[in-house]
Symmetry: C2
């Protein structure tokens, strides 16, 4: 069976308090495609953050001395740096225009994933958008609503686009999920010639996140949700934290 | 239009000297799916390495003093370490069971991408498989053969599965391409609200590589090639080296 990734067209603009699940149901209804067991919906963090009102006005933020210092080092807005620090466990690297942190959610990323694009300003006041507080929980709640409404076994993944240490270009990565595996462990399985496979834990959620991100685009396309049919693994409950490399085996910070 | 990724089933076992393009044409013919302009084939490096006879018998390798020392540090076979060093520009990190290098092709990866799974041994002699010498060139040649045979505008990408600095699980990544972009640069474009987008160079080749890898599996499935329809960007000639972050802006080695 092929993997089919379809953007949900005409997904509505999401405002604080709006429901994501009803918007998905509405879009699917309009496309005329019935949901199947095994379907996955991949949702960009941005619409979930908007629904959960993770907006901050920069003029409401007072930078700490540490933020002021880091702002000088990185040439960034001190108020933005303050928000980055509040969202993070630690600073991993800093350089002009770049602040790499371990986000409170456990992953290493630039600028704590705080977003300034596709955000309306209000009366000239600059707003930014933080990542969802608990993307796993957001995924679980959206999944429950969709499964209650459709009686189908589906999976939900929340993604963000992130950079990589040694490669240019951002790619979609999983930041939370419900109802699908994060990793698939094939160690101990045999290969085609009967040899035992060595290192083969597959990052299936991140692979799907990248695939979904490819179909979302990044600029004005406005397709924050994609429908996935044909995910090639059983929809068993996954654990996002399995993706995070523990610090004691991290060679790069 | 959705993105549709279809594994080429019953792809033949590839031996040194075999043609990849004829095998793809044969598989497509059997599926009854005609090629379209805009189609992309994603090919795992392993079958290209096999076709190009990148096998090495470990008993033919004499480890250098440096290899012997690194083998002790990493608890790896000194002959394998010797091959890893020959394939690399430099060692980036070492630890028990782990040797991270910059491959001669420019990317940072574990063990220089040398493979010991899905490889037959001959008369009990251990063989390993090195990455293709020039995956871009391999992609160009396969593309030319397919385009000559079909008169369609297609793209070819060669991928490998690689680990990431801070995340568990290997994912598919581009190591060579022909006829499709490596990155798509959206800087300067406007977002939905007319703001200029900030950091938005999208790693479209790596996103497609991950998507393709998801459908190839890693163990005994034996699906080294996938057919992609609906790649959402024009098939302009890309440059693999654009993906490589130059060392002067690399924060992590």
């Amino acid at each position: 069976m092929p993997l089919v990734i379809s953007p949900l067209h005409d997904f509505p603009m999401i405002e604080p308090g709006d429901g994501i699940a009803p918007a998905i149901l509405d879009c699917m209804h309009k496309t005329g495609v019935a949901m199947n067991d095994g379907d996955v919906f991949v949702i960009t963090q941005k619409v979930i953050s908007k629904a959960e009102n993770r907006y901050y006005f920069l003029d409401q933020v007072t930078p700490s001395p540490q933020a002021l210092e880091l702002a000088l080092d990185t040439d960034k807005d001190p108020r933005l740096v303050e928000l980055i620090l509040r969202e993070s466990n630690e600073v991993v690297r800093k350089r002009k225009n770049t602040l790499i942190v371990e986000h409170k959610l456990g992953f290493v990323c630039a600028g704590a994933g705080i977003d300034q694009s596709n955000i309306t300003s209000i009366a000239g006041r600059e707003r930014v958008l933080l990542l969802p507080t608990d993307p796993d929980r957001s995924a679980r709640m959206i999944r429950k609503e969709l499964m209650d409404a459709t009686d189908k076994q589906i999976g939900i993944m929340v993604i963000d686009t992130q950079g990589r240490a040694w490669r240019n270009g951002v790619v979609g990565m999983c930041i939370g999920l419900s109802g699908l595996p994060a990793l698939v462990d094939k160690r101990g399985k045999n290969d085609l010639f009967g040899n035992t496979l060595q290192i083969t834990v597959i990052g299936v959620a991140d692979e799907l996140a990248a695939a979904a991100s490819l179909m979302m685009g990044q600029a004005a396309e406005g397709t924050p949700v994609v429908h996935v049919r044909g995910f090639p693994y059983p929809l068993e409950e996954g654990n996002f934290n399995d993706i995070l490399r523990s610090k004691d085996v991290d060679l790069f910070r």
